[in-house]
């Protein structure tokens, strides 16, 4: 009964994603087997690229499977999934960020904004969710101030508020997108919109990784990302735009041309999100946010391209559709 409301285009796109994963997994599997049997060039045997690819793909299967199941199960499951993502992102951010022992109460408040944000979204109060960042600013600021020491006040409160802004407010826009009412004429409803932005941003990341590894030479921002090349960014951007143009008409109310333009914008914002999170990591002196997803790093390492693009896409939908 619940399954009957899943739109056919949603099922079609999900099937396509798993076909893509199957293709990638078998390609890597054949490559590994061929190298084992025939031997390969010495650089590939000694390089970590194949084990890394296999680890990445294994993580992709788990992410795609859990995301698809939640999308199909419906609204509550999708929102629970996204709330869990927010929790994991906040937890790994706070785990690698230095805090004063007196900031402990502030950290509990940061976690408490998760049920606040997602509770309001689940009950359909999209505009109430807009007060979460202000509430967080006020409560966290006051709590850090009540510590009674002005030394490092801005540092402590800003560190916590950055975490809340990224993990709960910015990524929470994915839940706002998923909760868009189907009555607005969206063909595949909120789940279609959510699948659209997640797929466009993630396929952009994958293309960026492949283009950067295979034909990238010149580093785009050497001070921040030692692995990101200009070719990678261009490849990611083009792929995101083309994927959006192909899927937009099925999953969203946007026309093909409009989808192409929005896809390009999502691609650019995805790059900027990744760059910003990289700057945060470099400042903390770490390479990855965590080790939750073997091959990828932490949850935020995978979701960094959604940090800016999700709020943009949500507000675009509100204004234009």
């Amino acid at each position: 009964m619940m399954l009957s409301v899943v739109s056919p285009s949603l099922v079609l796109v999900l099937t396509g994603i798993f076909a893509l994963l199957l293709l990638a997994t078998s390609t890597v599997g054949v490559a590994v087997a061929a190298i084992r049997v025939f031997g390969g060039p010495s650089w590939i045997a000694s390089s970590p690229i194949l084990p890394e690819l296999r680890a990445r793909l294994r993580s992709w299967w788990i992410m795609a499977a859990s995301f698809s199941v939640c999308l199909i199960l419906g609204r509550v499951a999708s929102l629970t999934f996204l709330a869990l993502v927010s929790f994991l992102v906040l937890r790994e951010y706070l785990s690698v960020t230095p805090f004063h022992a007196g900031d402990r109460a502030g950290l509990f408040v940061a976690y408490a904004t998760i049920p606040l944000q997602y509770g309001w979204i689940a009950r359909g109060h999209a505009d109430a969710a807009a007060m979460v960042p202000i509430a967080a600013l006020a409560v966290l600021g006051a709590i850090v101030a009540m510590r009674g020491r002005t030394q490092n006040f801005l540092r402590s409160s800003a560190l916590i508020i950055w975490g809340v802004m990224i993990a709960i407010v910015a990524l929470g826009h994915l839940a706002l997108i998923a909760a868009r009412p189907a009555s607005l004429g969206y063909i595949a409803g909120g789940p279609g919109l959510l699948l659209f932005i997640v797929f466009v941003c993630q396929i952009g990341d994958v293309a960026q990784y492949i283009a950067g590894k295979s034909l990238g030479r010149r580093l785009a921002v050497p001070g921040i990302s030692p692995n990101k090349t200009i070719a990678g960014y261009v490849g990611g951007l083009i792929t995101a735009a083309l994927a959006a143009a192909a899927l937009g008409p099925y999953l969203t109310p946007m026309s093909p041309g409009e989808s192409l333009a929005i896809g390009a914008a999502l691609g650019i914002l995805g790059c900027l999100g990744g760059l910003t999170i990289s700057a945060v990591k470099r400042d903390l002196g770490i390479k990855d946010m965590g080790r939750l997803l073997p091959g990828h790093g932490g949850a935020l390492d995978r979701a960094d391209s959604l940090v800016f693009s999700a709020p943009f896409f949500y507000h675009y939908l509100v204004l234009a559709h």
């Binding site: 937890r91 706070l94 402990r104 490092n152 002196g285």
Partner: protein, 218 residues
């Protein structure tokens, strides 16, 4: 009966708290003993340390895990004493021991003889986070008495942020456990044995820094 309770506590409380709510990052987990007897030696900053060390093992092995606790803090009849004895396999030892009281390590020896994996904090109490206090020599005496039992240093970091001294509610944060190379009693002297263990714990404390915040303090 007690061991069944310990298994369920491990499955329903310890693993979900440490691996679900907090997240446990293990390096060199292959160095952990597959079965007892063994002695795990760790730095001590939080009541959660013992939970984290227990979470390194599967629930099937929960019944063979034990922790060496201070008799004066984990008093028989108190709630925390009951939890330690019934749910955590605690072996109480007397911190301020008098010669008239007999062998202070008899309980630990019995536990090792019955194949237990014993958790022991040679600092003797919860110390200052990020810094090792002076180590007590009890581990060395125990190792000398049981020369075939491996002693494994495990360095924990981040636990003092999850549940510092005096706190009641744990804060969900990822914690790290670095498992050091197992060692055995080599016939040398107790002071050298402890110095070597202490160095292993401190080295890992300083180099576990993939994430500096896990052990550095502002």
């Amino acid at each position: 009966m007690g061991s069944r309770l310990q298994g369920w506590c491990h499955r329903l409380v310890i693993r979900p708290l440490i691996c679900g709510l907090c997240g446990l990052r293990v390096t060199h987990g292959d160095r952990l003993p597959r079965s007892g007897p063994a002695i795990l030696v760790a730095n001590h900053n939080s009541h959660f340390d013992t939970l984290a060390l227990f979470a390194l093992f599967s629930s099937e092995k929960a019944a063979s895990l034990g922790s060496v606790v201070a008799r004066d803090y984990f008093r028989a009849g108190s709630l925390i004493g009951w939890i330690a004895r019934r749910l955590m396999g605690a072996v109480p030892v007397t911190r301020s021991w008098q010669p008239s009281e007999g062998d202070p390590l008899a309980g630990c020896s019995r536990a090792l003889d019955s194949g237990k994996i014993l958790v022991l904090y040679p600092e003797g109490t919860r110390g200052t986070p990020g810094r090792m206090s002076e180590l007590k020599a009890g581990v060395a005496y125990l190792a000398r008495r049981h020369p075939s039992v491996p002693v494994i240093p495990v360095t924990l970091s981040g636990m003092d942020r999850v549940l510092p001294k005096g706190a009641v509610v744990p804060l969900p944060l990822t914690v790290a456990a670095h498992v050091g190379r197992p060692r055995r009693w080599d016939g040398g002297d107790c002071r050298e044995f402890m110095a070597d263990l202490g160095a292993a714990l401190v080295d890992a404390l300083e180099t576990s820094g993939e994430s500096p915040a896990l052990n550095c303090r502002p």
